[in-house]
């Protein structure tokens, strides 16, 4: 079947098998390998990207389901060569080591700050509770998100 998906603001279309998972469409058909393919069982959250305006686990969604919709991946976070504040936060606070969970964490963090600009550490932890990081112990990820929240508040002030 032929699908057309708006990916990071660009209309992309392809002939696919209906059984193709969204994560494989994004990585293998479109070559956007920022989103990672992890556990394949909707547990780890490495594949989190946005479908329309919602973070989803793209290993558990068919590309066919995204036909006619908008997808935003980690490649769509930066604006005119400037990293998104959540990306800056992860760099500044050492929010990653191996980097495998990072794209999913960034997409969830961006969504959280869009909906809750001044989160508590508990709210950050809850937001990423469906995502696994085996390096950081989460402490630096939480710090990174809170750093980004502070940065955005200061930018607005």
């Amino acid at each position: 079947m032929r699908i057309a998906v708006d990916v990071n603001g660009v209309e992309r279309s392809a002939d696919i098998e209906p059984r193709l998972l969204l994560i494989h469409f994004i990585r293998d058909e479109l070559g956007l390998t920022g989103s990672h393919w992890g556990c394949d069982t909707s547990n780890c959250g490495a594949c989190v990207l946005w479908l329309d305006d919602t973070p989803v686990k793209s290993c558990t969604i068919l590309a066919a389901m995204a036909d006619g919709h908008r997808v935003r991946t980690v490649e769509g976070l930066e604006r005119d060569g400037v990293l998104d504040p959540v990306q800056q936060g992860f760099a500044h606070c050492h929010g990653l080591q191996c980097g495998f969970c990072t794209p999913g964490m960034l997409m969830t963090a961006r969504w959280l700050l869009d909906h809750c600009p001044d989160p508590t550490p508990t709210q950050v932890r809850e937001a990423i509770s469906g995502q696994v990081c085996r390096c950081t112990g989460y402490e630096n990820i939480v710090r990174s998100v809170l750093w980004a929240a502070r940065q955005e508040r200061e930018n607005r002030a």
């Binding site: 479908l51 686990k57 558990t60 937001a127 509770s129 469906g130």
Partner: protein, 296 residues
């Protein structure tokens, strides 16, 4: 690498269109909503439909409203939407208790209430919550709609009364002023299926229990309910003694099985203990609701 087997895909644009597609493709078609239960099952070849009928775009089934004294939940309401809906939490705190511990925030963004119910996993939290609330399931088919009590909806593990060619379209929950409800779950880790879980809905007359609903998940309770334990509560003083007895009766009627989540005797213990805890909180909430109604 886990991928589903070859399958065809059809997207429904209305309930009528969905029903027509289901009629056209027959018993080898499967309804796809959020896909968060079905796609994992397809990856494991536990189900292998020839055609998926995607109803996930039917916004007409994505709503949450109070009509008269009934909360109506469209079957395609996402878990996150139910959790965020103040009218659900105000009338039925059990639904928010349960939603908070269903999967994780990202899965709740896409998984649907109706999809979870139709998946009919014996450990499904919402099935127990709606059993406790004595909800009604509205099923739409080619000949119109029919209403089925929540306690007759499931016919066995992964089986419901929704027939080939039909769709679950709405869940209706009767609102009882002054009632209280709660949900208690024990899992191995955050976001996991329950080892055991219990929900309770209570209406008080003074300090006497006038109505009681108890739902159980993952402990082998028939239809996710504990009717014998409920009966033991009617007319009793809403105190620890009656609650403990109800927990005991609920556990006696549960038929848990040993699996990787825990041994049967531990699950039976949970059936009792979690029933008591859910009842305790439901009673406290019913008292608070009664107080605010009197002061109201």
């Amino acid at each position: 690498m886990q991928v589903p087997a070859y399958v065809e895909y059809e997207r429904a644009t209305s309930v009528e269109h969905a029903l027509a597609l289901l009629a056209r493709f027959g018993p080898r078609a499967q309804v796809l909503a959020g896909g968060h239960s079905l796609i994992p099952m397809m990856k494991l070849r536990l189900v292998q439909p020839e055609t998926l009928v995607d109803v996930g775009h039917l916004t007409e089934l994505r709503y949450l409203t109070v009509t008269g004294s009934v909360l109506r939940i469209g079957a395609l309401t996402r878990h996150a939407e139910l959790l965020a809906a103040p009218e659900a939490g105000r009338h039925f705190p059990i639904l928010h208790d349960a939603e908070r511990v269903i999967a994780d925030p990202i899965v709740r963004q896409w998984g649907t209430v109706g999809g979870s119910l139709c998946q009919a996993d014996p450990s499904e939290d919402l099935s127990a919550a709606f059993a406790a609330l004595n909800a009604t399931m509205v099923i739409t088919g080619p000949d119109g709609t029919r209403a089925v009590p929540a306690r007759q909806f499931h016919t066995g593990p992964y089986e419901t009364v929704v027939a080939q060619g039909e769709l679950l379209t709405e869940i209706q929950v009767p609102i009882t002023p002054g009632a209280g409800s709660a949900y208690e779950k024990v899992g191995r880790r955050v976001g996991d299926w329950p080892v055991g879980a219990a929900g309770a809905a209570i209406r008080l007359d003074g300090d006497v229990i006038a109505a009681a609903g108890i739902g159980l998940a993952a402990v082998g309770a028939e239809h996710f309910a504990a009717p014998e334990a409920e009966r033991s509560l009617i007319g009793a003083q809403a105190g620890e003694q009656a609650l403990a007895r109800a927990g005991q009766i609920a556990a006696e009627h549960a038929r848990p099985v040993t699996d990787q989540r825990g041994p049967a005797d531990y699950k039976r213990h949970l059936a009792s203990e979690l029933t008591v805890r859910a009842l305790r909180r439901a009673v406290a909430r019913a008292r608070a609701a009664g107080r605010s109604a009197r002061e109201g």
